[in-house]
C-alpha cells in the first residue's frame, strides 16, 4: 500500500467529509431526503473506505469489532427504549407526543432519537458485516 500515494492522500481528504455528510443526511432528514438509514450507511462507508486504503487492522484500531457489535445492538435498544419511555409517560408505545409539553416538540424529540437509533444500528451492522467478510481469509483448495 505504500506506493499508492494518490489513493492514500485522497482517502484521507475524503473521509472527514464523508462522515460529515453522513451527519448532515442524518440531521437534515427532517427537511430533505435522508434519515437514519442512509446516514448510517454513509457513515459506515467512511470506515470501509479507510479499511480499503489503510488495511483492516488499522481500522480495527480506530473501531474495534467489539464496539461495532455494541453499536448494532444499542441502536435497536435505543429505538425500543424510546417506545418504553413514552409508555412510562402515559402514552402509547412509540407515541412521541408525550415526550414534551407541546406534542409537536415531543414528535421532534421522538423522531430525532428514533432516527439516531436507526443510524447507530445500521452503522454497526454495515461495519460488522464488512469486518466479517474482510476478516475471513481465502480458503485455497
Amino acid at each position: 500500500m505504500d506506493d499508492r500515494v494518490i489513493l492514500r492522500v485522497g482517502a484521507k481528504i475524503l473521509i472527514p467529509f464523508i462522515l460529515l455528510f453522513a451527519l448532515y443526511v442524518q440531521f437534515h432528514g427532517d427537511y430533505g431526503p435522508g434519515g437514519g438509514f442512509q446516514a448510517g450507511v454513509i457513515f459506515a462507508a467512511g470506515f470501509v473506505l479507510y479499511a480499503l486504503i489503510y488495511g483492516l487492522e488499522n481500522v480495527k484500531k480506530v473501531l474495534p469489532p467489539q464496539a461495532v457489535y455494541i453499536c448494532s445492538a444499542l441502536g435497536v435498544l435505543l429505538y425500543a427504549g424510546v417506545g418504553y419511555v413514552t409508555m412510562a409517560l402515559g402514552g402509547n408505545f412509540l407515541d412521541y407526543g408525550v415526550l414534551a409539553h407541546d406534542p409537536e416538540h415531543g414528535q421532534h424529540y421522538g423522531i430525532l432519537l428514533v432516527e439516531l437509533g436507526v443510524l447507530i444500528t445500521v452503522f454497526g451492522v454495515m461495519v460488522a458485516v464488512f469486518y466479517a467478510f474482510a476478516g475471513r481469509r481465502r480458503v485455497d483448495t
Binding site: 435497536v76 412509540l94 428514533v114 432516527e115 451492522v125 467478510f133 475471513r136
Partner: protein
C-alpha cells in the same frame, strides 16, 4: 423531456442487465450490478422518490458492491462452467417474468390521483403531518412517527441479519479467528500451526506465571 430521460434510463438499465448475464468475469459483473443500482436510483429520482433513490444509491451501489467484492476476494473472480443445461432455468425465468408482466396489467397508472394508494391514509399524512408532526419532510414523518412500528421492525431485521451473517461466517473450515464468548479470539488453523502456536503460548504462559519471577518480585517488593 421526462419521457426521454425515462427511456434513456430504461434502455441503459436493460443494456446493463444483459451485460451482467453475458459477463463471465465476476468482478465486472459486480461493478455492473453497482451501475444497475445507480441507474435504478436515477429512475427513482425521476419518479420523485428521492428518499428511496438515496437508499438505493447508498446501499445498492455502495455498500453491497463492497460486500460482493469482499466475497469475490474469498471465492475467486471467475465463473465456473455450469454443469446443467440452461433450458429449464430459462423456461422458469421466462414464465416468472411473464406472470409478473401479467400482474402489472392490473396496476393502476403511475401517478394517477384516483389510485387506491392515494385514498386511504395518504391524504391524512399529507394534510395533517404539518400540524401533527411539524416536520416538512412527510417521508420522515411517516417513516419515524406514523409508521414507527414498521421502522422499528426494520431496524430489528437489520440487526438479526448481522446475527445471521456472524453465525454463518463463524462456521465451517476455519480461518484463524472465531467469534466466541463475545469477542474474536485467535485459533490455530491447522495442526501444524496448532503445535507451534500452542507451544509458544504455553512457553509464554509459564514465563509469565513462573514461580521464580514471583519470588523475584516478592523479594524486590
Amino acid at each position: 423531456m421526462v419521457e426521454f430521460v425515462d427511456i434513456a434510463l430504461l434502455v441503459l438499465l436493460g443494456i446493463t442487465a444483459f451485460s451482467i448475464i453475458r459477463q463471465k468475469n465476476l468482478f465486472a459483473a459486480v461493478m455492473l450490478a453497482g451501475i444497475y443500482s445507480l441507474l435504478s436510483a436515477g429512475l427513482f429520482v425521476v419518479m420523485d422518490a428521492v428518499d428511496v433513490a438515496f437508499t438505493e444509491a447508498a446501499v445498492g451501489a455502495g455498500i453491497s458492491t463492497i460486500l460482493m467484492l469482499g466475497t469475490l476476494a474469498l471465492v475467486g473472480h471467475s465463473e465456473h462452467q455450469p454443469q446443467h443445461r440452461p433450458i429449464l432455468p430459462l423456461f422458469v425465468v421466462i414464465l416468472t417474468g411473464a406472470v409478473l408482466v401479467y400482474g402489472t396489467l392490473d396496476i393502476p397508472p403511475f401517478g394517477d390521483a384516483s389510485n387506491p394508494a392515494h385514498h386511504h391514509v395518504a391524504p391524512h399524512y399529507l394534510e395533517e403531518s404539518e400540524h401533527e408532526i411539524g416536520i416538512p419532510n412527510v417521508v420522515t414523518s411517516v417513516l419515524a412517527s406514523y409508521r414507527g412500528y414498521d421502522t422499528m421492525g426494520e431496524t430489528t431485521v437489520i440487526f438479526a441479519a448481522l446475527v445471521g451473517v456472524l453465525l454463518l461466517l463463524s462456521l465451517g473450515p476455519r480461518p484463524r479467528r472465531v467469534f466466541s464468548n463475545g469477542r474474536w479470539i485467535t485459533v490455530a488453523a491447522s495442526e501444524k500451526d496448532a503445535s507451534e502456536g500452542g507451544a509458544e503460548e504455553a512457553q509464554e504462559d509459564t514465563l509469565q506465571i513462573s514461580p521464580e519471577e514471583k519470588t523475584l518480585g516478592d523479594t524486590n517488593g
